[in-house]
């Protein structure tokens, strides 16, 4: 090969990568927890702090774990989608109120509606860290064996629910 073509060739490769790079989101970090067991926790219920919410109670079920907070604007965007999904009865959505004030969270749910059968409270953000949460909202799909099968970073939209979440849940249900 003509060695004078070398700089051009390198440049073409770099441009190719940069072109692909334009379509990627550098801020989205894939979770290493997908395919692993969902970390255990036992957190008080938001509605009734006496009661304890633990993933072990949900063994044998396919469920979603949604990290949210009343201070989070993305959660507001996502909320109608969750309400819709909850109403369809396809899959139960369990909530984890992340680093929030209890009364504000309760007001939020009263005002906008409550899609969750149970909401756990993660006041110190410890459960969040164990799940690798780095910004709310984040949603995990957990299978019957208690394995994480999918992680949604950022708000769920109806398209993702229809094309990803529901087919995945159906597949996991049939296993």
């Amino acid at each position: 090969m003509n060695r004078f073509l070398l700089p051009l060739s390198i440049f073409i490769v770099v441009v190719g990568f940069l072109g692909v790079g334009l379509k990627l989101n550098p801020r989205e970090i894939p979770s290493p927890l997908v395919g692993k067991a969902a970390p255990d926790f036992s957190q008080p219920h938001l509605a009734d702090p006496e009661q304890v919410f633990a993933p072990a109670d949900l063994k044998g079920k396919v469920w979603l774990l949604n990290f949210w907070a009343s201070w989070c604007s993305g959660c507001k965007t996502e909320h109608p989608v969750l309400m819709e999904l909850a109403k369809s009865g396809e899959v139960p959505i369990y909530g984890m109120d992340y680093k929030d004030q209890r009364d504000e969270a309760l007001t939020w749910l009263r005002r906008w509606g409550n899609p969750y059968p149970v909401v756990g409270v993660d006041e110190a953000g410890r459960v969040g860290i164990n799940y690798g949460v780095y910004g709310v909202p984040e949603t995990y799909v957990i299978d019957k064996q208690g394995m994480i099968r999918y992680k949604q970073i950022g708000p769920l939209d109806s398209e993702t629910v229809a094309n990803k979440i529901i087919p995945l849940v159906k597949q996991l249900e049939s296993q």
Binding site: P32, L33, K99, G128, I129, G132, G135
Partner: protein
């Protein structure tokens, strides 16, 4: 003026006033280790900051978590493993050496080797071409004379 001097003197001599400030950290040893670790860890929510520099709430939580682990005498590697298990290699500013990062780590030195080799080869080849392979002793002598002149000129 006298009043000012007097009050200054009071300020400097008063035992109540000159108390040494307490460090923010409870355990200076843990804090030093945290600092050492945190500059190599990436704050996930920030644009591009280390865990040590960031004021984001998540960074604060993670510092708290790391501090607790260090206080329990866990090794740096254990702390790193803990974070990598949750957030992936993304948290490490020093990418671990793996199949996918080999090029990253050896690249600079490969580049240097290629560059150095290319330079030496080019200079050799060039020296042959430019001096256009002397045939006679007479020519060789003349070239050397010219080279010597060129050297002196600067």
């Amino acid at each position: 003026m006298r009043w000012l001097v007097l009050s200054l003197m009071v300020c400097f001599s008063g035992p109540v006033w000159a108390e040494e400030a307490k460090p923010l950290a409870e355990d200076p040893v843990v804090e030093a280790r945290l600092k050492h670790l945190a500059v190599e860890l990436r704050c996930l929510v920030c644009q591009n900051q280390t865990l040590a520099d960031s004021n984001a709430p998540l960074a604060e939580d993670l510092r708290r978590e790391v501090r607790e682990m260090l206080a329990k005498n866990m090794s740096d590697q254990e702390v790193i493993d803990f974070l990598v298990a949750r957030y992936g290699d993304f948290v490490l500013y020093r990418p671990p050496l793996k199949a996918t990062t080999t090029l990253l780590w050896v690249g600079p030195f490969v580049l240097l080797t290629i560059g150095a080799t290319a330079l030496v080869v080019t200079l050799r080849r060039r020296a042959r071409k430019v001096v256009d392979v002397p045939v006679t002793d007479e020519e060789q002598r003349r070239v050397e004379q010219l080279l010597a002149e060129g050297g002196k000129r600067s």
